[in-house]
């Protein structure tokens, strides 16, 4: 088990390999479909200090707003990452992002982006909304809540021992490609 705390250096990321189990600590920024389209098309400057050497989490949480106005996460597991495939590599490069958390893995373009910039794809257990919300200790801030709505907003949070698996590393390795190839071969045999 490897403990990582954001901000993360390129050197730390280059040491990670497919299959490594990671416990992540520190600040993480949530973003999904609308955020990624916005980052690619408008490249907003204000996000740079929030994202440099940081980690993006593909997640649309269930959020509770308390009476004193502060927020907490009620359920916060990963959403399917492949929808961000058209945007991810460019977002990683523009903002020097070191890690992307999601589920289901991503494609070739993202893999090339991970290799070029020095970043990894970190897989969280899909559907484990309650378990993962417990590891989201604090909501620090939220941006674009009005414009995007709660599931799509940039939530800035602090996580503690957030359990992850490296499924795509910065050397071109991808667990998803291996499982896909093996299952395709097995399917061929099953179909006869």
């Amino acid at each position: 088990m490897i403990r990582l705390t954001t901000p993360i250096t390129e050197d730390q990321i280059r040491q990670l390999k497919v299959g490594d189990e990671v416990l992540l600590n520190g600040r993480v920024v949530l973003s999904r479909d609308m955020g990624h389209k916005y980052m690619k098309e408008q490249k907003p400057e204000w996000l740079k200090p929030l994202l440099e050497n940081m980690v993006i989490y593909h997640c649309g949480p269930v959020v509770k707003k308390h009476e004193d106005g502060h927020y907490s996460f009620v359920a916060a597991g990963p959403t399917t990452s492949i929808r961000e495939e058209p945007y991810q590599a460019e977002v990683i490069e523009t903002y020097k992002v070191r890690g992307v958390i999601g589920k289901g893995g991503m494609g070739k373009k993202t893999s090339e982006g991970l290799q070029k910039t020095g970043a990894v794809y970190l897989h969280a257990t899909g559907g484990a909304g309650s378990l993962l919300a417990e590891r989201c200790k604090r909501v620090v801030d939220v941006k674009m809540l009005e414009e995007f709505g709660s599931p799509e907003a940039f939530w800035i949070i602090e996580v503690e021992d957030f359990p992850l698996v490296v499924t795509m590393d910065s050397h071109g390795g991808s667990l998803h490609e291996i499982v896909l190839a093996e299952s395709q071969a097995r399917a061929k045999a099953l179909m006869g």
Partner: protein
């Protein structure tokens, strides 16, 4: 995180004590015009969003225990079980994607469907306010979230299926179907030359294997497959979802279909996709198949993929006034 979690949920007494229904609540089915389904429906949503059906838990635990202890597949299934216990204990959503809300209402003659729809919609709005549901209804092109889970046209979300029946009871079933698993559903038109699939069970089997391989872990495996053979493009998909209301482990009434389901489940679990697509022997929890009728020229196989967090539940109101949840 590898300590083996025991899947013990809170007792029914505890669930009862947290109910939004007042103690001793009775439904007055003698007065269908005055009946208000809002509170029982809110209670149903509270339960489905936070408490996974026992048959699904049993299947997940069986899958976990078949994986090698300490493997990624084992740990992942173990985390899923841990999550189930937490969500139930806290009465919080099992998954942040609380899904699209699909409702089936079966009712006796005399119930106003318009009033029932209004009341059920009110319950969904309230469940959203209480953070039991995430607002999951957005305008298609702009992506603008209505914030309430309601579409302003009263047409698409929540989705309703009404049926009048000759029983005196009212049954309301709900399914919370996540977007990730909805995205990996598939519809095939047979014959399919690329798959080499003809208009027979061998062809149907090929479609299902193909859909599961294409889905990989994206639909949050291990999934449950609802498969409708026949129908048209709409009714086939509709049926494929309704089938997922069937409990895992209950036999298909058609013995031949039952054998098909069991054998195919075993075969699919040799694909090696495993929980979340990490590899492993638990790729699906079950396959549920139903045959329909079709136009002679069309042969569809419609497949709905339900994630491992198969949130479904049924509320029954009896003429005695009793309200039960399953």
């Amino acid at each position: 995180m590898s300590e083996c979690v025991i899947p013990t949920l809170t007792t029914l007494d505890v669930v009862q004590s947290k109910s939004v229904l007042p103690p001793g609540y009775k439904a007055d089915l003698a007065n269908l015009k005055g009946l208000d389904l809002t509170a029982p429906m809110l209670e149903l949503l509270r339960r489905t969003t936070s408490r996974l059906p026992q048959d699904v838990i049993d299947a997940l635990v069986k899958g976990r225990d078949a994986e090698e202890e300490g493997s990624r597949a084992f740990n992942t299934l173990n985390d899923m079980v841990r999550n189930i216990v937490l969500a139930d204990g806290h009465v919080t959503p099992l998954c942040q994607d609380t899904g699209s809300i699909i409702v089936w209402v079966r009712h006796p003659f005399g119930l106003s469907q318009r009033a029932a729809k209004q009341q059920i919609r009110a319950a969904v709005v309230e469940a959203t306010k209480r953070s039991w549901l995430r607002p999951n209804c957005v305008e298609a092109l702009s992506g603008k979230n209505t914030g309430t889970n309601m579409d302003p046209f009263h047409e698409h979300h929540p989705a309703f299926h009404f049926e009048e029946w000759d029983k005196p009871d009212i049954d309301i079933s709900v399914m919370q179907k996540g977007g990730g698993c909805e995205n990996v559903g598939a519809q095939y038109r047979l014959p399919d030359a690329a798959l080499g699939a003809g208009r027979d069970m061998k062809g149907v089997r090929k479609c299902i294997i193909d859909a599961v391989v294409k889905a990989q872990g994206q639909g949050c495996s291990p999934g449950i497959l609802g498969v409708a053979i026949g129908g048209d493009r709409v009714t086939g998909y509709e049926k494929s979802k309704e089938i997922i209301l069937r409990k895992l482990g209950t036999p298909n009434p058609d013995p031949k279909m039952d054998t098909f389901e069991q054998e195919l489940t075993k075969d699919l679990n040799t694909l090696g996709i495993g929980p979340m697509g990490y590899g492993g022997t638990t790729t699906v929890l079950g396959v549920l198949v139903e045959e329909m009728y079709r136009h002679p020229a069309s042969f569809y196989v419609s497949i709905s993929y339900m994630c491992w967090s198969s949130r479904r539940g049924t509320l029954t109101l009896k003429p005695s006034g009793d309200v039960s949840f399953d």
